[in-house]
């Protein structure tokens, strides 16, 4: 599967996004701001995660008209979200010609047992993960890109850090396993042994892994890149802040130059307030988005 031509094209696009920032936008004007700030792609959606969280109700795929308007407004790749397991929404997004589909826990899941069989699509998928088992299960289903789930719409980085550390630390652990230990390990994490073997032999996942879910500042972006993220998704963090164009540019700079702390200090100056944010401990169990999907 990893050598398949279509899969190579899908992972290839993910490779091109590395070191970049993908920004959530809700209209053509925001999409232009994102592109001008140096975003490598935009995620087109009707409501950003912070508003989905605040307003409640069932969150679904965005109106195709909105997605088309955003496609017309920018020249960079346009991504869109479908509900977990809702392959018909994904088929519609493919018909619109989005460049990447996010099978996302931010929307209300449509299937509580199965994720989408992503091999059936020509468009690449990105999926969220909290640990190595979840990461490898999504790859087995055909995801070409992973991201931490974090806790979307909170402006709080703590869950993204937890998820990135969990995946990275298990990758390191797998490289120390003996060949005869791989099957038992695969059983324990609920992932195919071939993918566990790939990680052992290569010391990394077969697809890129980005950070998402709570990034709100340039320093947040640097933190996630230093922890092993290969690019950054910023959802509510930009357009829920006081000065979105300035913050967008600063986060782009901090993602590229994530080890240049003088530069990060400079770009962080005077960009007004970030989004207010939520303490995860204040959220009830049923308000968590990261527990959606399996």
């Amino acid at each position: 599967m990893l050598q398949d031509k279509d899969y190579k094209l899908k992972v290839g696009l993910a490779e091109m996004l590395k070191g970049g920032v993908i920004m959530d936008v809700t209209n053509a004007e925001q999409a232009k701001i994102a592109e001008d700030a140096g975003a490598v792609a935009v995620m087109a959606l009707e409501r950003i995660p912070a508003d989905i969280r605040a307003q409640g109700g069932v969150a679904r795929m965005s109106d195709p008209k909105l997605i088309r308007e955003i496609q017309e407004a920018v020249s960079i790749p346009v991504m869109a979200k479908c509900r977990i397991g809702h392959f018909a929404e994904a088929q519609v997004l493919e018909a619109i010609g989005v460049d990447f589909i996010d099978e996302s826990e931010v929307l209300t899941p449509a299937d509580e047992a199965h994720h989408i069989d992503k091999h059936k699509f020509k468009i690449p998928f990105v999926c969220g993960c909290r640990d190595i088992g979840e990461a490898l299960r999504r790859i087995a289903e055909g995801a070409a890109l992973l991201r931490t789930k974090g806790e979307a719409g909170t402006g709080n980085i703590v869950e993204a850090v937890r998820h990135m550390r969990a995946v990275q630390s298990e990758i390191r652990r797998i490289t120390t396993l003996l060949d005869e230990e791989l099957v038992a390990y695969a059983k324990q994490i609920g992932a195919p042994v071939e993918l566990v073997r790939y990680v052992k032999e290569n010391g990394r996942l077969p697809v890129p892994n980005f950070a998402a879910g709570g990034i709100a500042t340039p320093a947040d972006a640097s933190l996630m890149m230093q922890l092993g993220a290969e690019a950054v998704f910023v959802g509510s963090g930009i357009f829920k802040s006081e000065d979105p164009p300035a913050r967008a540019k600063a986060i782009v700079m901090a993602t590229t130059h994530y080890m240049d702390f003088d530069l990060i200090a400079r770009v962080s100056e005077g960009i007004k307030a970030p989004m207010k944010g939520i303490d995860i401990a204040q959220l009830k169990e049923e308000e968590l988005l990261q527990t959606r999907g399996w």
């Binding site: 094209l9 290839g12 091109m16 590395k18 070191g19 790749p77 700079m253 240049d260």
Partner: protein
């Protein structure tokens, strides 16, 4: 000898691996002073709009133009767009180092990305290789000094003018070493 790879964004790690397979030392370039020790520079695939913004933000824009007067630069996909003189369908302040006109995303969106055989002519030998085209640009016009080096059907997909080498596809996504080797030799002989 060291080859620099512009590492602001994009698939610079894949170029780095391609050079490692040829046992060539790599310098990732994020600042102008990192260019000084390099005998050549690769501008990878990625997003050309992002590249231009980031190049200007850290004064690499002019530094690469100066660098290219003396030493070779190789651009793949977005790297080709950044090096081109003209972009026909999008206002982009490119480096203008090779006399070609380029159409961005000329084949369409990701659904139109494809892998197909391309024909390459290097140092008088012809070879067929896998061309990976991802939201790829097209060279729609070549200036009189530009030499075509690769074709997909009738389309020129690889070209050279003096120090500057460009490809609309991604040799770094395949195991084919001939194109990187060609560039490394160019860099070796430049000084």
């Amino acid at each position: 000898m060291k080859i620099g790879i512009l590492a602001l964004q994009g698939d610079f790690e894949l170029h780095s691996k391609a050079l490692a397979r040829l046992s060539v030392e790599v310098q990732l370039v994020r600042k102008p002073d990192q260019l000084t020790q390099c005998s050549g520079l690769i501008i990878p695939g990625g997003e050309s709009t992002t590249f231009i913004r980031l190049l200007k933000a850290v004064s690499l824009y002019q530094a690469i133009r100066d660098f290219a007067r003396e030493r070779p630069v190789f651009g793949t996909c977005a790297g080709l767009i950044v090096l081109a003189k003209r972009v026909t369908n999008y206002p982009l302040e490119t480096l203008g180092l090779i006399d070609i006109s380029v159409e961005r995303n000329a084949y369409g969106r990701q659904i139109d990305s494809f892998i197909d055989r391309v024909r390459i002519q290097l140092n008088g030998t012809s070879l067929e290789t896998e061309g990976v085209f991802i939201r790829a640009p097209k060279i729609v016009e070549l200036g009189p000094g530009v030499r075509p080096l690769g074709w997909h059907g009738e389309d020129v997909v690889m070209a050279e003018e003096g120090h500057i080498l460009v490809a609309t596809f991604h040799p770094e996504l395949t195991e084919e070493a001939a194109i990187h080797r060609y560039f490394v030799e160019k860099a070796r002989h430049s000084g």
